[in-house]
């Protein structure tokens, strides 16, 4: 009970502090600094519900779903299995920041690293909310929706296949996360499911939240520092427009569920292939996601992942520009 009392008093103290500070008046920070903070807070506040949802789903998978149940219902053939995993997002529609804790939970539950990567890449694109919002924004015009769905599916399975050939998949993970998956905690096994759930929430929050905070502040700094006009001026060139959209996707770190609405106003300036590249790359690789994925994968793994995904997204964009 003492712990609960500390928690209640701590939360009450935070509410009191939050309620009192506006009365102290404006700080009159320089505009650029104030906007940097507003942009960073926006990323954190927008991501929080998805992170919590992702952790809760991860808890359900790890603690409450019977062992090996998910593993058993998936096909045994590795290729078919990864293809099936690509569509898990249809049943677990969490945007990309929520998928990181969920993917960690799937590895802990018995997925191979390559299978978890397939899920991590495919789920933010192949999920009902993303499909509906992309269709609302673009319909079937210029093949943008089709390119996004097929592109996301193809890249997810390509990455899964490449890393399934790796002789030691565990070496792709950070040593801390690999150890967490490897070590059988005898004390934890004796605990109730409720206690396990709370422990898992605390552990995942301890890993994901610092990464989210640091990713958000870096995204804010880059957004304040890079003039948007530089990117927009490149819009009509078939190659440069794709590279500009890749930079924008990397910087903006926007949620895949609504990125189609964000990019819609750019459709009059940028070629369709570059829009498709933005919609494929953004949910997989951006500043915030790299910071969050670093909690799980080694830096060298993320460099390889970024290179392959960027090249594939650019190639798909070029094809769409050529065909559309």
């Amino acid at each position: 009970m003492a712990g609960l009392l500390i928690g209640v008093l701590g939360i009450a103290g935070l509410f009191t502090l939050r309620a009192l500070t506006p009365a102290m008046g404006e700080l009159n920070l320089p505009n650029a600094l104030q906007d940097l903070l507003t942009l960073s807070y926006s990323v954190i506040i927008e991501s929080l519900p998805f992170v919590i949802l992702g952790i809760v789903l991860s808890i359900l998978v790890q603690v409450w779903v019977p062992d090996a149940w998910i593993i058993r219902v998936l096909p045994q053939n590795p290729v078919l299995r990864r293809m099936a995993i690509s569509f898990l997002g249809m049943f677990l529609p969490v945007c990309e920041c929520g998928n990181v804790p969920l993917a960690r939970g799937l590895v802990a539950k018995g997925f191979t690293v390559s299978e978890s990567m397939t899920f991590l890449i495919a789920a933010p694109i192949l999920n009902p909310i993303t499909i509906i919002t992309t269709h609302q924004a673009f319909g079937f015009d210029d093949g943008i929706l089709v390119a996004r769905l097929l592109g996301g599916f193809a890249i997810a399975n390509l990455i899964g296949w490449i890393y399934s050939r790796h002789p030691d998949q565990e070496s792709l993970l950070t040593s801390r996360f690999a150890a967490e998956c490897r070590v059988v905690d005898a004390a934890a096994a004796r605990r109730s499911n409720g206690r396990k759930s709370v422990d898992l929430f605390a552990r995942e929050a301890g890993v994901i939240m610092p990464a989210l905070f640091i990713g958000a502040i870096i995204a804010g700094i880059v957004q304040v520092a890079v003039p948007r006009s530089v990117l927009v001026s490149l819009g009509s060139n078939p190659l440069w427009s794709i590279l500009a959209m890749m930079v924008l996707a990397f910087v903006i770190s926007i949620c895949s569920n609504v990125d189609a609405f964000f990019i819609l106003p750019f459709a009059g300036i940028f070629l369709p292939g570059s829009i498709a590249t933005f919609l494929i790359l953004g949910p997989i690789i951006d500043i915030k996601m790299l910071a969050m994925m670093r909690t799980t994968f080694r830096t060298s793994t993320l460099v390889q992942l970024t290179a392959v995904v960027s090249l594939m997204a650019a190639l798909i964009g070029l094809v769409v520009n050529f065909v559309a």
């Binding site: 712990g3 903070l37 929430f201």
Partner: protein, 277 residues
């Protein structure tokens, strides 16, 4: 003490973000950061998260509980906080470079996130300013699908025109520069002042941000306003209501063909919902 801060850092960051989000929602200011469609979802998940935070304190921080004992077994790495950060460091010499580096990064990372969390809880909420409007280039993109079309606007009543927002007028200005279209169509808009580079002493942009998801994706839209020597009474970032009509631009320094000429302009409070959706 610092070891405990590092251990509880994630829960502290979740708690701070939840409290901040709930307070913003209760005071109607969550829309400064996210689209209104996400408010209910955010509040719902914040309440679920708050339950987990309180349960964490109840189960893991209770002196009578088994947290300390359990912690010795967590991840099988003992009670060494550095080993908890990176299990491969277990057993290494305390003065080894790898351990010192890990300790330094852990300390710096935790300190940085706590500083950000502190500012999140104490700084007054704020909307984006003219600095971001300029940095993102006003009207540099289209204006999305929810726009006024010239055909629809041509048959609108005076009452409808006076309800048009900065976004509505900006979308019409992108579609036509025919001055006869704008004749006898009264305009009344609220926005903030952002610099117009063509003739910055006599022109400015009346500006709003259009948000699709959160402040990160805010796109600045604006209508050019002509008012001689406007800086004598107003300043950049001031929120104002402007009444007037669109017509040929009197400024010789500007290439902007049509501007809003001012009949009346008064300072106003920043709207409760400063962004357009």
């Amino acid at each position: 003490m610092w070891r405990n801060v590092i251990r509880w850092n994630g829960i502290i960051l979740v708690a701070v973000t939840i409290v901040s989000s709930l307070w913003l929602a209760v005071t109607g200011q969550l829309v400064l950061y996210i689209h209104p469609r996400y408010v209910i979802f955010t509040v719902t998940m914040a309440i679920i998260g708050l339950a987990f935070v309180l349960a964490s304190f109840a189960m893991r921080a209770d002196p009578g509980g088994d947290d300390d004992h359990d912690h010795d077994h967590d991840h099988g790495v003992g009670s060494d906080p550095l080993a908890e950060l990176d299990p491969t460091l277990t057993g290494q010499d305390a003065s080894s470079p790898a351990r010192r580096r890990a300790a330094l990064f852990a300390t710096l990372g935790t300190a940085l996130t706590l500083v950000i969390a502190f500012t999140l809880i104490v700084l007054p909420p704020a909307t984006l300013s003219s600095a971001t409007a300029g940095q993102r280039s006003i009207n540099s993109t289209g204006v999305g699908s929810e726009i006024q079309s010239v055909d629809d606007a041509a048959t609108a009543t005076d009452g409808a025109f006076s309800a048009f927002t900065v976004l509505d007028w900006a979308s019409l200005l992108r579609q036509t520069t025919d001055t006869s279209f704008y004749a006898e169509k009264p305009a009344s808009m609220v926005g903030f002042i952002a610099d117009h580079p063509d003739d910055s002493d006599n022109m400015f942009y009346l500006t709003r941000f259009v948000v699709t998801c959160c402040a990160v994706d805010a796109q600045p839209v604006g209508v050019p306003v002509y008012l001689e020597n406007w800086r004598a009474e107003f300043a950049i970032d001031d929120w104002v209501q402007v009444d007037g009509e669109f017509g040929t631009n009197p400024s010789r320094a500007s290439t902007e063909p049509i501007v809003l000429t001012v009949d009346d302009m008064v300072p106003v409070e920043q709207p409760a919902e400063p962004y357009l959706w």
